[in-house]
């Protein structure tokens, strides 16, 4: 195969979208009942509600000339399935995910938690995580990689 194809002038990232459905309730123990209601509105309703979340995972790395790939898709899919989809899909974020005991499961915090879970990804560098909570709201987190947002 052509091993001269790698070009130093271009940075390449691979993006993959995944979906899961989960419920949450936004409620801070540091706020009074009235304040929770005022700050979170409907999202503070006592029994929670749910979303179809779309998680966009962006990774970077060198293209392996033998495979043409930055990351083996089957490996990436398996890693995300194990670390995020299996523990989050059809779950209550508040009740079923330990990270959200004492942390309000806003999609900002969900971005940070999913980034933390995916950071150890083998064979590629995690650049950033973008989550659509609904088709109108999306959130992004790039960890310490502030450059990620200059893209």
């Amino acid at each position: 195969m052509n091993h001269d194809a790698q070009s130093g002038e271009v940075k390449i990232e691979l993006g993959r979208r995944y979906r899961f459905a989960a419920s949450h309730r936004l409620h801070s123990p540091d706020l009074s009942e009235a304040e929770n209601c005022r700050v979170y509105g409907k999202c503070n309703n006592p029994y929670g509600h749910g979303h179809n979340y779309v998680v966009e995972v962006l990774v970077s790395g060198k293209i392996d000339p033998a495979t043409g790939m930055i990351a083996n898709l089957a490996e990436l899919d398996g890693f995300v399935e194990r670390e995020v989809l299996e523990p989050f899909d059809h779950k209550s974020l508040n009740e079923d995910v330990a990270a959200f005991r004492g942390v309000v499961p806003t999609t900002e915090n969900l971005c940070i938690e999913i980034f933390r879970r995916l950071k150890p990804l083998p064979n590629a560098t995690l650049e950033r995580v973008r989550i659509q909570e609904t088709s109108n709201n999306s959130f992004e987190y790039a960890g310490d990689n502030a450059q990620g947002f200059e893209r």
Binding site: M1, E13, L14, G68, I70
Partner: protein, 136 residues
């Protein structure tokens, strides 16, 4: 600085096969993408150019011109083509989303005379895409 993005779609076929691999290795690494007669996708390409709007025209670059560049460099080369056999720029490479995006970047970069090519995003499916940026 202002970013301007134009989107086009093309349909093409491809297959993943490395002649240096054994048949079993090709199957293991590439899975269904190694099926010998290939398969196809509707690719969506988003091309983003960065620049300052011209004080007279108010434009970063003339969209008509960008449209012509995309037609000439991408559509005529890749639309309704078998990427492995009909696109010389991909010869000897596995036509993954990453490699096609890089080839497109290299084709477009010298053609953009007003503003600078900022990003090439190629979707192979709605859930899989590759982004190219200028390094550094």
């Amino acid at each position: 600085m202002v970013l301007l993005t134009r989107k086009i779609e093309f349909a093409a076929s491809h297959l993943y096969h490395n002649p240096d691999f054994s048949p079993e290795e090709n199957r293991r690494v590439f899975g269904k993408c190694n099926n010998p007669h290939g398969h196809g996708h509707n690719y969506t390409l988003e091309v983003t150019v960065a620049g300052e709007p011209d004080p007279v025209t108010g434009m970063v670059l003339d969209l008509k011109e960008l449209k012509e560049i995309l037609e000439r460099e991408v559509m005529q080369r890749m639309d309704h083509r078998f990427l492995n056999y009909e696109v010389p720029e991909l010869a000897g490479q596995i036509p993954t989303c990453e490699n096609i995006a890089r080839v497109i970047w290299n084709l477009l970069n010298p053609q953009i005379k007003q503003g600078k090519l900022h990003r090439v995003r190629l979707y192979e499916t709605p859930d899989l895409f590759a982004d190219c940026y200028r390094n550094g």
